[in-house]
Subunit: 450 residues, 2 copies
């Protein structure tokens, strides 16, 4: 496909090229265009008919959008943005540098500019920032026939016509009615008699996770968003909900792997950006890990006296880290999906204490048998087994308690719970494991302390 | 709410209770019912009207569904399952033990049983296993008026009426038309003239991730699923897609944190089940980590001779593990969202090599400065710095290469790439880091080998 497009481009057969692209879905065209060098993007893009061009534009990655905007004339810029739904415009604006934003705003109509500015005022990550204002609103005293007439007249500019919202004269949300209900009703029935009055809605200031959670829970195609006086101001549609779910999960995956989330795809992110996104956390964790090293240095004499001690350190560190991440991942995801709330901390802690006691006991037991078989000739073997076993048990319990408390603490402090995941937790658990191990060892085994 | 329901239950005011519940969404009723003890579940459930009862049943967790089924009479069981959409029935059956499945099948009509059995034959995780067969199909020679009549007649039994599928006489999928297009058209226009003929569809044997990827990419409300002869056999709707996206992400989160995914929610999973889900991986990883310990044991004489060596081990182990997980997480998620394909391995490897070289250099540099400041009085300090720096560089490069290759290798071998995430990778990187460190140390520093 790429080769075919390239040939048509070089031969300047733009009519044929348009014919080829016009039947493709916008997402596929966007992916195809992304494979061409930057200088060819505007030519390719100009081949597309106006509406398809706008749809394709929305599907592109931010860096390609920016390249295109910079190549556009003001007229072209206006033509593309006039075709976009407002929520898409706002999404794009949020990713662009200030000079590009100014150019977009300068080329928008007065009313669009006002709407964009209003949308930009909602806090990032709030329902207000992801909602669209292009929805169908009906009145309770309309007949089904009148409702259909309204829908037909305005359908082209609306993001969804399948869920319609009923507002009173003060624009307060009083009901919701599906296109299905309307289609199954008689023409002269009243919307007010057919609508569902028990409406589930979100507030503009709700977090976008909460809004998306509602859509997922109730299998909605859209959720209405109201202001503090219960006036309808927008809707969040299911396709945007999917984007939020995907983004949030990918963001958590990234942060839990100690990287900053990428703005573009893996391949279109440069080596330098990849490096920049990953190196900061690695620095922080490397420096933190030297504390564990310092603790070991502190027991240098003990190490020299009984070097076999050191060989248990990796196992204790890894088991602590793994036990902790199991719990922290469950808690972080539980907080993200609102299954766990900060007030549940004692419930979670009690459960984790019991789980960790069982796991700690079992692991200590298996490890004791293993050590007895491997080292039964060594001097002080029983005390060595006891030292390792007690440390293992307490490290598992401590790691699971930290794995439960630290993410909840982060949430309470309005930090992202995901930063308290595996890498950070592992570093903390490492230091605890090593301290505990040497503390017990110097007490149970006959070795000099320093 | 719970207290109110409890009072009405105890006072046996079932009419009032029904009035209270009837206005609540099914998902909320399911959550409320889950808070009551097992023996009260059937009574609560019987209060609900038939259709709401079925909707509520679908929203419950598998363990509560099983409790209810076991309490149902055959007649009640039939009443509930008759109301369910087929794909929901299949989902429930897949979670139940064999005796419960048999009871459900015994109480289904002949045609339902045949359809269930067919659905159960699709491989787990295939598009066929999550699709529903309740869709609207139209013919190309119908007028819009006739199409509406068909939709109205069958709407109640269909999962979505907003996307309709056009099939020929051999049931081959030839077009798709939205309810919006139908609503905006004249009554006597032909479906064949209005429909979109460039239909994007999935195969029954496609993986469910692929199908869901299409829905996400094209913002569909439903994707049609065809057999190998392009006959329409079902659809996957956007609400099921959201469930798959959520489940897949949670599954990856769980596996990447070295636990088996939970079937029920965090709180409704017992301490014993939590323990069982987590302990196996901890055992495996604990035993693997002892290899790293054995490598250290092997260099016991070196450790005794220069104990300060040991204090660098945690930093090297952690940095290796963290660098590796950064890459493996990106690759695992890239594979899950099909952004990265196994054939991209060399592209990814080349990128990771450059990123890791940059990161390795930077970390080694910072670490050298840090060591020089902290330890500049120690003997052989320059060689010690060189040893640590070289090890650090190669550990980062190696960890990132493993983090890229191992998940892709797992994918090629039809294993879940997520098993090659942080915990497993950390254990492998640990052993490499320690071996490399002592190998270089015994060559650069004047210490005895064994």
């Amino acid at each position: 496909m790429k080769a075919k497009v390239m040939v048509l481009l070089v031969e300047r057969k733009f009519g044929e090229l348009r014919g080829l692209l016009i039947d493709m879905p916008a997402a596929d065209i966007a992916a195809l265009i992304a494979e061409f060098p930057n200088e060819l993007l505007p030519i390719l893009f100009r081949v597309l008919p106006k509406e398809l061009a706008a749809e394709t534009f929305v599907e592109m990655e931010p860096n390609i959008q920016q390249n295109l905007i910079e190549a556009f004339s003001d007229m072209e810029l206006k033509a593309v943005f006039d075709q976009l739904f407002l929520d898409d415009t706002v999404d794009i604006i949020e990713e662009m540098p200030a000079n590009v934003v100014n150019r977009i705003l300068r080329n928008s109509s007065h009313s669009t500019r006002a709407a964009i500015n209003e949308a930009l005022q909602y806090p990032k990550d709030s329902a207000g920032s992801i909602m669209t204002i292009e929805y169908v609103d009906l009145k309770a005293d309309m007949t089904v026939g009148q409702a259909f007439a309204t829908i037909r007249r305005t359908a082209l500019d609306k993001e969804t016509i399948y869920t319609c919202y009923v507002v009173d004269n003060a624009r307060k949300l009083i009901g919701v009615i599906s296109a299905k209900t309307l289609m199954l009703a008689d023409q002269d029935q009243l919307v007010g008699d057919l609508m569902e009055t028990n409406v589930i809605s979100g507030l503009t200031t709700d977090s976008k996770e909460d809004v998306v959670g509602q859509i997922r829970k109730y299998d909605f195609l859209a959720l209405p968003i109201v202001d503090t006086e219960h006036r309808l101001v927008g809707i969040v549609t299911v396709d945007d909900a999917i984007d939020v779910i995907t983004e949030e999960a990918e963001r958590d995956f990234a942060i839990m792997a100690a990287t900053s989330p990428l703005e573009n795809s893996y391949f279109s992110t440069s080596v330098l950006t990849h490096t920049r996104k990953r190196i900061i956390w690695l620095f922080v964790l490397m420096i933190s890990a030297t504390f564990t090293g310092m603790i070991i240095s502190h027991y240098e004499v003990a190490v020299a006296g009984l070097p076999i001690l050191v060989s248990f350190i990796p196992m204790l560190m890894d088991t602590g880290g793994n036990s902790g991440s199991q719990t922290s991942t469950l808690v972080i995801r539980g907080l993200a999906t609102s299954e766990i709330r900060p007030r549940d901390i004692f419930k979670v802690l009690f459960k984790e204490l019991r789980v960790s006691a069982l796991i700690g006991l079992a692991l200590a037991l298996v490890n004791s048998v293993r050590m007895f078989i491997l080292y039964h000739g060594e001097e002080q073997i029983l005390m060595l087994i006891l030292t390792t076993g007690i440390t293992l048990f307490f490290v598992v319990v401590l790691a699971k308690c930290l794995g439960c408390c630290l993410p909840i603490l982060a949430k309470v402090l309005h930090l992202d719970p995901a930063i308290m995941s595996s890498p950070m937790l592992t570093t903390i658990c490492d230091a605890c494991a090593v301290s505990l191990f040497f503390w017990i060892a110097t007490r149970l085994l006959h070795i000099p302390v320093m």
